[in-house]
């Protein structure tokens, strides 16, 4: 097995209830050989009412909770894994029900690829649009729309073309860039991992091929766009070590950095990673960093290069997805967590067509947020790590909402 430069890729499946998401993942895992014999035997013994006509209920692979199997629905995201020679894949099977949107968001937030299923018999639905909007909000690199159950329309091209046209128009409206559509049948595997010629009019390759051909865009690594956020401070007699990950760019020993919203200048004295002192660290690397000067650094502090400053403000414009049954209220105090930084914050304004004062469960809205102090942050387009945040309920610690900074 060639492990050189084998990369991690995360993908999620979304779509309406009963569009066949779990079956599709089951099919991908099954055909890529990621399912063991004992698990398959378990499947043939246990079937739920959704798919009695199948030999194996492939959805059973991801519906891991008793309640899911009893009700025949996916409630929470399930994570599954498979590997090819070039990539290790993490698949999140996310729930289709509107009420479990928070779980869908959980599974989707870190993903490179979105697979959105559409039942060819029903076409584009509200949930298709909602999930596509979430993919757009999250800036997912690639969206593959799987038009499923083609067997039920006798693999008819016209039906597919109609859905395809409608979806592409909608995708352009919401700003999705890299979109492709595939007609397939998750149930029998057609166009998922193999082609038997039932749709000679389609030339886009199988779903598996489209996934395999995807490579994440490598971020440009320059010292100028350097970002580092302190997760933890290890104190010692002489000088402290700051533990964290290089979030963007690179950093070398001897370089000047600016720290926090105050922009205090300091020099990098030592970088340590992988049990060694190193000279240079890149984006993605966990490091321990020591500064020459003794300055005030706490958990959440951001280090950056003066050539490329983050934003500093106590006002943030964000896209917010509300994930709690307790409505989001204007002027209510919340705890905002941005990476490892925490600050008290309020929603000051909800931008909607008509004036609203509350945000309801599963709503996605533009908001203006005010923080209690001036903080450093990035635009989500530049940094997922420093351009995203959650809002936490101060009374019960629940995560209420997820936001991307505009």
């Amino acid at each position: 097995m060639d492990m050189e430069n084998k990369k991690l890729i995360r993908l999620f499946t979304a779509g309406n209830v009963d569009d066949g998401k779990s079956t599709l993942i089951g099919r991908l895992l099954f055909d890529s050989g990621a399912i063991s014999t004992d698990i398959l035997l378990g499947l043939s013994e246990l079937k739920n009412s959704r798919t009695l006509h199948e030999n194996f209920d492939l959805s059973y692979l991801t519906d891991g909770l008793r309640a899911e199997r009893e009700q025949g629905i996916t409630i929470d995201v399930a994570y599954k894994y498979f590997s090819t020679d070039t990539h290790k894949y993490i698949i999140s099977d996310t729930p289709g029900h509107l009420e479990y949107t928070r779980n869908m968001f959980t599974g989707a937030s870190l993903c490179d690829i979105a697979i959105i299923l559409i039942d060819v018999k029903t076409g584009i639905t509200e949930q298709t649009k909602r999930h596509s909007k979430i993919a757009a909000l999250l800036q997912v690199s690639k969206v593959i729309v799987a038009v499923n159950k083609m067997d039920l329309v006798h693999y008819n091209q016209e039906v597919f073309d109609k859905i395809s046209g409608e979806y592409l128009t909608f995708a352009a409206e919401i700003g999705l860039v890299d979109v492709s559509l595939i007609p397939l049948s998750a149930l029998n595997g057609e166009q998922v991992t193999f082609v038997t010629g039932k749709m000679p009019w389609y030339h886009g390759g199988t779903l598996f091929e489209q996934i395999s051909n995807f490579s994440p865009i490598e971020k440009v690594i320059e010292s100028t766009n350097f970002r580092f956020q302190v997760q933890h401070v290890m104190q010692s007699k002489d000088s402290d070590f700051y533990l964290g990950e290089v979030v963007a760019g690179s950093i070398a020993v001897g370089q000047k950095v600016l720290v926090g919203a105050m922009g205090i200048s300091a020099t990098v004295e030592e970088i340590s990673s992988n049990f060694n002192a190193i000279e240079l660290a890149f984006a993605g690397m966990p490091i321990a960093l020591r500064l020459k000067e003794k300055i005030n650094v706490t958990r959440g502090s951001i280090f950056y290069n003066k050539a490329f400053l983050p934003n500093f403000s106590n006002k943030i414009s964000a896209n917010l997805c509300w994930m709690s049954k307790n409505n989001g209220l204007i002027d209510q105090e919340y705890l905002l967590q941005l990476g490892s930084f925490k600050v008290i914050a309020c929603i000051k304004k909800i931008n909607a067509l008509h004036k609203v004062n509350e945000i309801e469960l599963n709503e996605i809205v533009d908001v203006e947020i005010q923080t209690k102090e001036i903080i450093a942050f990035d635009n989500y387009l530049f940094s997922k790590e420093l351009g995203s945040f959650i809002l936490i309920d101060l009374s019960n610690n629940a995560t209420l909402a997820a936001g991307t900074i505009q």
Binding site: D38, L65, A402
Partner: protein, 299 residues
Amino acid sequence: MMDFLDQLEAEAIYILRETAAQFQNPVLLFSGGKDSICLVHLAKKAFYPHKIPFSLLHIDTGHNFQEALDFRDVLVQDLNLKLFIRYVAEDMTLNGLVDLDQKFPSRNTFQTISLLKAIELYDFDACIGGARRDEEKARAKERIFSHRNLQGKWLPESQGPEVWRILNGSILKGENMRVFPLSNWTEIDVWQYILRENIILPSLYFSHSRPCFQLVDGSLMCMNQFVKVDENDVIETRKVRYRTVGDMTCTAAIESDASTVSEVIEELIHARISERGATRIDDRISDAGMEDRKKEGYF
């Protein structure tokens, strides 16, 4: 450039650092198995050049392999860490519980009692464990920061969102967070990491000779003082190794000639049986066995 093992490692280190920063008194659950050994290695890396800023906790069922216990004691001494041990047998006596009269008397359910006792006694607010989502279907559903309520229970139907890499570690006094840095690792990822990092494991994981008898499903149970052997069991010495190291009463061995990490990886690439399926008798009790145990507070 970072490959997938670097990426998995970075993710685990990120989680370990978040745990050290967000909790007052975290503890690492150590069993002497390969996953918890990898966790300790990752924790060493995460806090280097400082030492690991938390203790280890072992819930000792009394049914452990001696090799795993010896390995544990050497590791703790080498790293100069504090090890808490909670003995399941003592909690059983305190609660008037006795072993089930079974061929393979499992102490799984009793283990939960001891774990929750230890959490309460030492006031641990976070327990770091080596569980992986690929092990079992209920675990595939669990968050990285997995909340336990005041009774120590997991409520799978009301898990909060966990978005991007942001880990919300805020809990109320008396609640507990279970933390799983290896959530996204598979069995083979762990072995490839062991190979790359030169991590030493107990000898149980490699081929050795042992007197065993075969179970109905073909798996091999090795002779030990806790298993009840009857006249139908045919004892023979076989070359075996363990894919998982749990209790001697519920962990089966597999026939194997793999005596190095590379040979184990080669063997796993061709294995058609899942890790727990090949070795864990305790998972076969019911279809939702793991979920039910976890809801009660299990690892």
